[in-house]
Symmetry: C2
Amino acid sequence: MRIQFEDMVQEFKRVLVKKGFSEEDAYESAKLFAENSLDGVYSHGLNRFPRVIEYIDKGYIDVKAKAEKIDGFGALERWEGNLGMGNLNAKIAMDRAIELSRQYGVGVVALRNTNHWMRGGSYGWQAANAGCIGICWTNTMPNMPAWGAKDRRIGNNPFIMAIPRSNGQHVVVDTAMSQFSYGKIESYRLAGKQLPVVGGYDTEGNLTTDPVEIEKTWRVLPIGFWKGSGMSIAFDLIAAVLSSGLSTSEIGNNEAEYGLSQVFIAIDPKKFYSEGTTYDIIDRVLKDLKESEPAEEGGRISYPGERTLATRRYNLENGIPVVKEIWEAIKKM
Amino acid sequence: MRIQFEDMVQEFKRVLVKKGFSEEDAYESAKLFAENSLDGVYSHGLNRFPRVIEYIDKGYIDVKAKAEKIDGFGALERWEGNLGMGNLNAKIAMDRAIELSRQYGVGVVALRNTNHWMRGGSYGWQAANAGCIGICWTNTMPNMPAWGAKDRRIGNNPFIMAIPRSNGQHVVVDTAMSQFSYGKIESYRLAGKQLPVVGGYDTEGNLTTDPVEIEKTWRVLPIGFWKGSGMSIAFDLIAAVLSSGLSTSEIGNNEAEYGLSQVFIAIDPKKFYSEGTTYDIIDRVLKDLKESEPAEEGGRISYPGERTLATRRYNLENGIPVVKEIWEAIKKM
């Protein structure tokens, strides 16, 4: 079953208005949800929407609240999320970072007490669409053991970098510090498949590609083993320190995953040079990358963001594939 | 054989002065080299020093050149490295980023045409010692295949994040985008050992922990497989775009690894709040981390930078362990 992008936006918007959002906020948030599904990140689009509605109903997300500036010094600002909708707050924060970059070359916005931003890549695309280099990250609830540990005390803290191109085919890296998300591990289990690479530990403490075993221990693997563990800790600390918000460890004391801390950085490269120069460098790098010798016959080397764009184009034309039950449940909301 | 830190500094300084550096530059650079060995990063301290001298002799490093500002807009600046000494240029760039952060809350310095900065962590410690959050990265020559590729077209592009603490025991993450450096793979081969986790591919295209096999293909593994590959590309692009310098791919056209592009970001968290607050958050996070249940009996969970500090203390007291032949070769320079 496939749904047109605009129909999905309208359906989400209808539900959000019903839950108490203003027309404008409901539209902005609905668009961000629908864009995630459009870009193939179904886990944080349609498939996540019902849980977000549940969080609204439980009062974890305040439909009337929005991020607001509470402190600032030049190009650096601290914003309070007031437990508003996560994707709206994140968009506001990146918009402000972009605005600061127009004034100072760079802008940094640290946001606290916000909610799950859904797909971090959204805010990278947002910065790149504004011609900016975008860098952002979030902390999460404790969902990964630190290197050498069994129990989960650090977050998978997604990290995003985006580099703008004149043709809109931006380079966007959106990567959690865990090798696989819980959702990905579950989907491999449901499909009866092994993970393509090791993703966690079994009950005997051995690395495994078996999703069933990993779900027994929830000892998921940080990217690069000790390296992703270290990066996760640093991202959490910087977000908590700059926003004066909750750390991953403290979010673990909440009854659900809310009250997150995030950092948004925008840098305006056009402060320096003509657009041509910038884009030439990127084109040359990506061309060279594409000329790599594939490890497997017929293999293609993609740059970060390339597959997202291909999916976006396909889904725009053919409609977004949806799980019928979820779509129908949302229609009844 | 162990050498006192100050003796190592003086020996490096003597050689650098002989090569044409000013007294002051020679001391600053010598100190950075010696600090790497002091902190246990021997590969980029004493052990690397002879190769740097060779680069000076070959004219890749210009002993009289230093980084200078060529363009700037508010908190964002572009500096030209003039192929000066890599560690001096990097120190100058991070110093400038720190200065900008005093004025704007955040400072970004993009540096081009510089040389290998040795240990990236140096500039993280530098920022943290100044009370700043430091974030920096460099590109490198092509030394790693992109995900899905056989030939090396991307860099291992080390990435550093540092968070200051009042007690000087800063949190510093210093991590290349490859799982292991060439030097590390070599040292495992020389010791006749297997790598602790997979680090690259054998000639049949299988992941392996065998350093001998990896040295046959030089197909080293990015951290997190496709994830580190994507991050490496993004770091390279941001550095090249902001500095208008060479990309990894273009550095590959040089006869050696010179002409690098780097980014230095400093954020001054004291613009917001009293020191107490900041440091409290960090202490709470690290305390929780330390309370993790170790995966192996008697295991200890370390925070990033903790082992560096322990090595620093030990080597300061007991002297820095050196390879006798290298030390004596340097004494004869």
